[in-house]
């Protein structure tokens, strides 16, 4: 089925209900403000048609000063009293204009792809940056992979709608020389199997730490049972999480508002986390470390980008319990 412009699952039921503040009653209703468009890309069209149909990136060069703007967002040059510009084909390699941010907490339309990076690539010969998503083929996107001046290649999606998400940038260091050279490189030509689970050495000291961690984790799980706020954090969510540490493995099971912690390996886990030091989770329970941050700084490895949703839900728990 073709994707809908408003995801069906996001549309709430048309209902109203009463909410109270003290003794006063207030009517609250589910409502929506929506407008559909059939919108022309107008003078911006050559850029999007180029991407969609030809796997080419176009810019515009001023006939007077020679500045090259990519994307070609203006047909005349405002810096030269609106002198005309001409459409020029650009190379698909360049450098990051600056270090791109990585979004961990996305809005509702982008939660499924978080964490994601959005930056600007200055293609060779251009004077402006093309806004673009940045990807690594080597697992979870973390700070440090993309920096100012990191050489990148623009890659095209296999299926393209004529939309900014039809292209993304990867570091040229993750590509073969032939891939870097190839015009119109597509996502299916990349090797995405780069995420390798790190190996860790077992230690007796870590085993002791894990025993303590499990005690704290179980205390937290029991508190969740008694906290309306914490249960709400995990409502409607089910995951089996396997955590591997130098002290051994343990598991967490999220089951629609409840959290269970168990010693030993968790079978049929959808989420795998690996960290050397199990005290990371003791720190998490005591709010001195967030799992999100631990992943970002490389203390915690996670097998799937998409499971950051689970990590966010877990990260809410210590705060919710503190507030309760």
């Amino acid at each position: 089925m073709t994707e809908k412009v408003i995801p069906i699952h996001m549309i709430p039921d048309k209902v109203s209900f009463i909410e109270k503040s003290g003794k006063d009653r207030y009517l609250v209703a589910n409502e929506a403000m929506y407008t559909f468009y059939r919108r022309s890309k107008g003078e911006q069209s050559p850029y999007f048609i180029g991407i969609k149909e030809k796997k080419r990136i176009y810019g515009r060069k001023c006939t007077k000063c020679g500045i090259v703007r990519v994307p070609p967002f203006t047909e005349t040059c405002p810096d030269c009293d609106f002198a005309p510009t001409k459409l020029v084909m650009m190379p698909d390699t360049g450098k990051m204009l600056s270090t791109p941010p990585i979004t961990y907490f996305a809005h509702s339309l982008f939660q499924d792809i978080a964490p994601f990076g959005r930056g600007r690539v200055v293609l060779k010969g251009a004077d402006t940056g093309v806004p673009i998503l940045v990807y690594t083929t080597k697992g979870v996107l973390r700070p440090g992979i993309f920096k100012k001046d990191t050489p990148v290649k623009v890659v095209f999606r296999d299926e393209r709608l004529g939309n900014p998400r039809d292209i993304f940038a990867v570091p040229t260091s993750e590509l073969t020389p032939a891939q870097v050279k190839k015009k119109g490189l597509t996502e299916s030509e990349l090797d995405w199997s780069g995420a390798v689970e790190p190996k860790i050495k077992k230690s007796a000291e870590a085993k002791k730490a894990l025993d303590k961690t499990l005690k704290e984790m179980n205390k937290l799980a029991n508190k969740v049972k008694r906290s309306k706020r914490a249960k709400a954090d995990l409502a409607g969510w089910k995951r089996r999480i396997s955590i591997k540490t130098a002290g051994g493995a343990f598991g967490m099971r999220i089951d629609d508002g409840l959290l269970e912690v168990s010693a030993g390996a968790m079978k049929r886990a959808e989420v795998v986390m690996v960290c050397e030091d199990p005290t990371l989770f003791t720190d998490w329970v005591s709010s001195t470390e967030a799992l999100t941050n631990a992943i970002i700084v490389g203390k915690l490895w996670i097998n799937k980008n998409a499971e950051f949703k689970t990590v966010f839900k877990l990260d809410r728990l210590p705060r919710s319990l503190r507030r309760a």
């Binding site: 503040s21 911006q44 600056s98 809005h107």
Partner: protein, 399 residues
């Protein structure tokens, strides 16, 4: 041009959610509070300027139209200003201009926003939908569909700044600033996070939302309203004599919008800089005759969408050198007892960020500090739009 003073100010309590009031009621509350503060009637007000940022928050394409009669301004001029996060500051500039030009003698400037009616039915929380609503402000052709948000847009600027100044904006410093603002918010009876304690350690350990921004170093979403009354010199002196408040003179204003596209030179946005802050401040200082802001201005209410952005903004405003903004803390510039009182309201991080009216709250606070502490000069700042494109600076003076 005639001289202009602020003669009254009022704000509502800032809340994460106002179940009890719509934006109509909140607007009315703020107007009543400002009129009471000035000791005048709404019949004394000649015109109104509204600061309302986002139509989608209010679920109306011209949300100000309902307010005109509700605040008692029917059959008088009313104009709305919307300039992203800087809507409030720009609305104040419009109100000032209407009085300074001689067009009107007394103008109300009302900022209001109702954000958290927006609701995400997947997570059953407001925040993702509020972020999405703000995200409709992004570049409609090239950026919004990439997941553009206000946070990642400001993060772009800050990361670019860090490319140039890797030793500045240390996490320990931004965490300490966050803790200071939290303490200061406890002196603001209208602050959203009144009664909350956030220590340096808590801010430091809070999770990233968009790298390098952490949860407890980011402004909150707020529902609320603020109103300021601007008056011409003669009116201001007469009204303030009756009310027993000193007029607070608006002596400098500046506003700049940068290019929305970033590039390799100054013909487009220079990513590591917030030139909108720098240029708007320079214009305001020139108008106010301020030569050395660090020595002449004591109170600053700067738009702290993010603590690290606040630091860079303080550099761009000339209170500390760019590349050395950690000196705000390490040199004690804004620590308690230091020469600068920065965001005594708690800022947008702790007092609240009701976008169209946040800058009115900042102005309310700056005026309060000038009057209560008998200080000479204050600065109010607003920033907004993608990559900190918009900037506005206002200088206030107590004579």
């Amino acid at each position: 041009m005639q001289e202009v003073a602020i003669i009254g100010a009022g704000v509502t309590p800032c809340k994460g959610r106002w179940l009890e009031q719509t934006y109509w009621g909140l607007g009315q509350m703020a107007v009543i509070a400002s009129l009471e503060d000035a000791g005048i009637s709404i019949s004394d007000v000649d015109a109104v300027v509204y600061g309302i940022y986002n139509d989608i928050f209010e679920m109306s394409a011209i949300p100000e139209h309902n307010l005109q009669g509700i605040i008692g301004m029917a059959n008088k001029p009313g104009m709305r200003v919307t300039n992203g996060g800087a809507s409030g500051a720009y609305a104040m500039i419009a109100a000032y201009t209407q009085v300074a030009s001689g067009m009107y003698d007394v103008v109300a400037c009302l900022g209001v926003e109702k954000a958290t009616d927006c609701f995400d039915f997947e997570s059953m929380t407001s925040t993702p939908e509020v972020i999405k609503t703000i995200a409709w402000s992004g570049d409609t052709f090239y950026e919004r569909e990439l997941g553009w948000t206000a946070s990642d847009s400001y993060a772009e600027v800050i990361l670019a700044y860090l490319d140039e100044h890797p030793d500045d904006l240390q996490d320990e410093v931004s965490a300490e600033i966050s803790a200071i603002l939290c303490q200061q918010a406890q002196n603001n009876p209208y602050a959203q996070r009144l009664g909350e304690t956030v220590t340096k350690e808590m801010a430091f350990n809070s999770r990233y939302i968009v790298y390098p921004f952490k949860l407890l170093e980011t402004c909150v979403y707020t529902e609320g309203a603020g109103c300021l009354i601007f008056a011409s010199k003669d009116k201001a002196e007469a009204i303030c004599k009756n009310a027993g408040n000193a007029p607070i003179w608006v002596t400098g204003l500046g506003a700049v919008n940068e290019h929305h596209v970033a590039g390799v030179d100054g013909r487009h946005k220079i990513m590591p800089r917030i030139m909108s802050d720098h240029l708007s401040a320079q214009a305001a200082y020139k108008m106010a005759g301020i030569k050395n802001p660090l020595k002449e201005i004591q109170v600053i209410e700067a738009h702290d969408a993010f603590i690290k952005q606040l630091q860079v903004t303080m550099g761009e405003l000339g209170f500390v050198d760019l590349g050395r903004t950690d000196e705000l803390i390490t040199e004690g510039l804004m620590t308690p007892g230091g020469p600068l009182l920065v965001n005594p309201s708690g800022g947008l991080t702790y007092a609240g960020h009701f976008v169209g009216g946040s800058n009115m709250m900042s102005c309310w606070s700056a005026r309060r500090e000038l009057l209560s502490r008998e200080l000479d000069h204050a600065l109010v700042h607003g920033t907004g739009s993608t990559i900190a494109q918009y900037g506005a600076t206002i200088v206030l003076e107590r004579r």
